[in-house]
């Protein structure tokens, strides 16, 4: 299993989450569904945050993510509006500076992906539209060879054409890189049609989990 959650219960400001267990194999798209405030973003934060404010176990490729934050984050591509890039620096400069932190960083691939996704490498990240910012982050995650992509409401507010294009990119990721995508969304049709697995959260609890067709 690529990602496994065992009885994850939040503590501190994440105490809202209660006893969440599911697993995601490599090569699949998984939707994390639920209304606003159901705990979707909080669950993703449990995985990417330095402070591990939860009880239970989260494993990535069989290894507890608490043991080595550096190693965990080498493998994760986090795409979120809250992701703090250098907004007064260009997309290329962000890649040149932050890319250094990753062992498998490929600057050429990053520039190629930006070009393919129609994001100007010379534009300041703070001036990118929301859709472009999401594309920029996806390119960044792909360029450092992530195996797990965590996408927080990435398609919210996107027009249908772009959304289709975005899902083509995601399918490419899981197809060619043997990676998986865990994506939060509250658009039900998107989850039922595009995802392989679905986990539904309500008030911080997992109320159902399974293959997309059976769950929704």
């Amino acid at each position: 299993m690529l990602l496994e959650l065992e009885h994850v219960t939040g503590i501190g400001k994440r105490k809202f989450l209660s006893d969440i267990s599911f697993s995601l194999p490599a090569g699949y798209l998984m939707g994390l569904a639920g209304k606003n405030g159901a705990g979707k973003t909080t669950l993703l934060e449990c995985i990417v945050s330095r402070k591990k404010q939860y009880n239970g176990i989260i494993r990535l490729n069989g290894e507890d993510i608490r043991t080595d934050y550096r190693k965990t984050m080498q493998q994760i591509g986090f795409v979120s509006d809250e992701n703090p890039f250098l907004f007064d620096y260009t997309a290329r400069q962000n890649g040149e500076i932050f890319g250094m932190a990753y062992e498998n960083w490929d600057m050429e691939l990053f520039l190629e992906l930006l070009k393919r996704m129609d994001v100007a490498a010379g534009q300041k990240v703070g001036n990118l539209s929301r859709g472009q910012f999401i594309k920029f982050q996806t390119a960044f995650a792909m360029a450092h060879g992530s195996v797990l992509y965590l996408l927080d409401e990435a398609t919210a507010g996107m027009d249908p054409v772009f959304r289709r294009e975005f899902f083509c990119i995601l399918h490419e990721i899981i197809g060619t890189e043997q990676a998986s995508v865990l994506m939060t969304s509250h658009i039900e049709t998107e989850i039922s049609q595009k995802m392989d697995y679905v986990a539904v959260l309500e008030d911080g609890k997992l109320i159902s989990f399974g293959e997309a067709g059976d769950t929704l």
Binding site: R70, D88, I97
Partner: protein, 179 residues
């Protein structure tokens, strides 16, 4: 056997930490090179250094006497609080849309060890203060000992404490506690 394994894993960890510090230094270099206010920080660095050295021109004996204590205190505040904070500002904050944002917040999801980042910052400060201590010792020797006839050890101890030990200890603590 267990002891050997422990030793090996410690060695591997140390090596990994060294590699991390090298990455952080290279990231800092690039970050500074792309900053639009890099020149301003360069000028400020010389300004801070100049004022420190002006304060340390005063012989230690004079600063420790009743009449010179207030001057010594102002000098200590400058070398300990104002100058190091100004010197490190280029690495600690990023100007973004007119606001200063903590660099640690910017890298919160990157695969970097916060402890190593802090050690690198402390290292920058130590390098900066080391040069100042050397010049301050020379100042104390020439002005304090040769011209005013003060005890040579008092002058050197004063320079080391004022420009080295106290500022480094205080700022290392501030950097270490930063979240």
């Amino acid at each position: 056997m267990v002891h050997m394994r422990e030793k090996e894993s410690r060695k591997a960890r140390q090596q990994e930490n060294r590699k991390q510090r090298e990455i952080i230094r290279r990231m800092d270099e690039r970050l500074v090179a792309y900053r639009e206010d890099e020149v301003l920080f360069g000028i400020l660095k010389w300004f801070y250094t100049g004022i420190i050295l002006l304060f340390l021109l005063m012989p230690a004996e004079m600063c420790l006497e009743k009449g010179g204590r207030s001057m010594g205190f102002v000098g200590l505040m400058w070398t300990t609080v104002i100058a190091p904070m100004g010197y490190l500002a280029i690495y600690r904050n990023i100007k973004e849309q007119g606001k200063q944002v903590s660099y640690l917040k910017k890298i919160k999801y990157l695969p970097l060890d916060l402890r190593q980042i802090k050690l690198v910052r402390i290292g920058y400060l130590a390098q900066f203060l080391k040069k100042i201590v050397l010049i301050a010792c020379a100042e104390q020797l020439v002005i304090g000992t040769l011209i005013c006839g003060q005890n040579i050890f008092l002058g050197i101890a004063y320079a080391v404490m004022m420009a080295g030990v106290i500022p480094l200890a205080w700022n290392a603590l501030i950097i270490w506690l930063e979240k």
